[in-house]
Amino acid sequence: MRATAAVTPRSLVGGPSLTKTGVVLGGGLLLVLLAGTVGLALGSVGVGIGDTVAILGHRLLGLPAQVSWSVPAEQIIMEVRLPRVLTAMLVGGGLAVAGATFQAVLRNPLADPYIIGTASGASLGAIAALMLPAVLPGLAVGAASAWLGVGVVQVLAFGGGLGAVLLVSAVARAARGGAVTLLLTGYAVSSVLAAGVALLMYFSGNHLGSIFAWLMGALDGAAWRNIGLATPLVLVSLLLLVARWRRLNVLLLGEAQASHLGVDPDRERLLLTGLASLATSAVVAISGTIGFVGLVVPHLLRLAVGPDHRLLLPASLLYGAALLALADLGARLAGGIPVGIVTALIGAPFFIWLLVRSRRVPVAES
């Protein structure tokens, strides 16, 4: 018999050690702050890091400060860059947590937040909204968005994303299948919706540019009002997801074993995909469809910190937020190209690398 292992089971029962948790989450928080500060300071007009920090301290925390900066600098930071950086963080964090959730629930390493129809549903909604002035008065939607203070595009994108997921879930439930049925239904419904998107684009005439920009993911429309509406939706869903970390872990054992451990796999899958889709729809509504963040960040973190969702989900939130803030900075410095292009340029090579070493991908295949 081998000698008792160096680490006793006792220390594994409590989950990741405090040191590991502290390093991972502390490092993530630091990266978020760093990415935020750099993202605020850099841009077409450079504001010094010192001034940036001083402006934030003065305006957000009410710290007394010697005003050493220009009024336009303060306006750029507070009215343009801060909402944009915060939007990027909300979107990146939300997509990464939703992606980690979908990868576990569907037991599929290639799952991303859009896999069961959110992206195509939201795209159809947004494009309908972009073309709306040309097609319909759209009175009801217009009134609703005016009341909320956000654009028709955001309202229809949110509704389209969530609507597509509800449709997919209902069909998958009617088919009485498991995770694979949900995956296939999502693919089928997405294809139909994508055909609708293509059809609208074909007839879109001079709207094509704005449609294309939305599809590639756009953060230049960032506004405080949008952040205010999306933040509670995203944060509440993410908190509820993190609180279900035990069930997410157990779902990785397969549906039969999950149910032996007291988790109803059908109900749990519906609940978890619903929460992740709520977060996804809210961020898609304010940013368009930004790819790869939701796929790549959870995989990177699984390799780095392990598959336990207790640590994986909070880490995804922080590192996803930092990554998209940095990608958006890159997009702005590259002359304002859509951030989706930057994430795809970084994400696609990573994706290929992932496929090559897919034997190491720590999510069981369905």
């Binding site: 292992a5 680490v7 006793t8 089971p9 594994l12 409590g14 035990r246 451990l261 109803d264 336990d308």
Partner: protein, 287 residues
């Protein structure tokens, strides 16, 4: 190896029934509205502290019966009472606090250490949002010890051999602290020493905590060591009782369609041994 529980069989007034099946039937739906009947009226009851070896041919309904006892399949017809209540009235989580299952096969996710996997068995009892309670830690420690899996605690699931996996899975099931333990071929992949260790652990848990155990076994020698053997054939219990009464040459020939010889070993116990002719060497004919 003595597997007889301390409570004498036949002390009927001491029996605390854990599962009672009456006319229990189940069929899996097939495409086209048809149904493949697997269980056709099973009558069996299991009491606290009992060990029942469940034997039968492939496809006789052993695994399906375990699933019904675990509450993951709803009875098609007949009645199933678990812990004094109709099986359908238990929630999944309530049952998971009382019933643990060692499945026949389980794909373990990669990246988890055995200690973490065994801790997942605590989910039905978990009361802390992010950490583990003292009871969780003690239960996991105990389960690892009982399953002889302590030396595996820090190993990754994907690095385990078949037998090590099986010990980890047994530990996960024991961490659930069940009153009814359902084992689907528990000795699969285990070497002889670990097979005997597992059966001895089960016997101790039955005596110390009154756990009831139903174990699907294929090895008739192991089954004969259990105090009670139930035989499933074509979805019905065709024999149920002490091994000496149940495991007769006639029954084995009828149910398993193999000839057996009855031998008496040096301790005077009767053993059934399948009559297997030495196989042809299979070498190509010379010339």
């Amino acid at each position: 190896m003595t597997l007889v529980a301390s409570a004498p069989e036949g002390a009927a007034q001491d029996r605390v029934e854990i599962a009672i099946a009456t006319g229990l039937a189940f069929g899996y739906p097939l495409p086209g509205g048809r149904r493949r009947d697997v269980l056709r009226g099973v009558d069996v009851s299991i009491a606290a502290g009992e060990l029942v070896a469940l034997i039968g041919t492939n496809g006789s309904g052993k695994t399906t019966l375990l699933r019904l006892f675990a509450g993951t399949l709803p009875p098609g017809a007949g009645e199933l009472v678990l812990f004094g209540r109709d099986a359908g009235t238990w929630s999944r989580m309530e049952l998971a606090r009382r019933v643990a299952v060692l499945p026949q096969s389980l794909e373990l996710p990669t990246g988890f250490r055995v200690g973490e996997l065994v801790t997942m068995g605590r989910l039905p009892h978990s009361r802390s949002l992010f950490g583990a309670t003292r009871e969780d830690k003690e239960a996991v420690e105990r389960a690892m010890r009982d399953a002889d899996a302590r030396d595996l605690a820090t190993r990754y699931a994907e690095e385990l051999s078949g037998g090590e996996r099986q010990r980890a899975l047994v530990a996960m099931a024991l961490a659930q602290e069940p009153q009814l333990l359902l084992l689907d071929e528990p000795t699969l992949h285990l070497d002889l020493a670990h097979q005997i260790n597992l059966l001895e652990t089960i016997t101790r848990l039955r005596r110390e905590r009154g756990i009831a155990v139903v174990a699907v076994l294929h090895d008739l020698t192991l089954a004969a060591a259990a105090p009670r053997v139930a035989v499933l054939d074509s979805g019905q219990v065709v024999a149920d009782g002490p091994p000496d009464d149940v495991l007769t040459e006639e029954l084995v020939r009828r149910v398993f369609r193999v000839a057996v010889e009855s031998l008496v070993d040096s301790t005077g116990r009767r053993r059934l041994v399948p009559s297997i002719q030495p196989l042809d060497p299979g070498l190509p004919a010379a010339g």
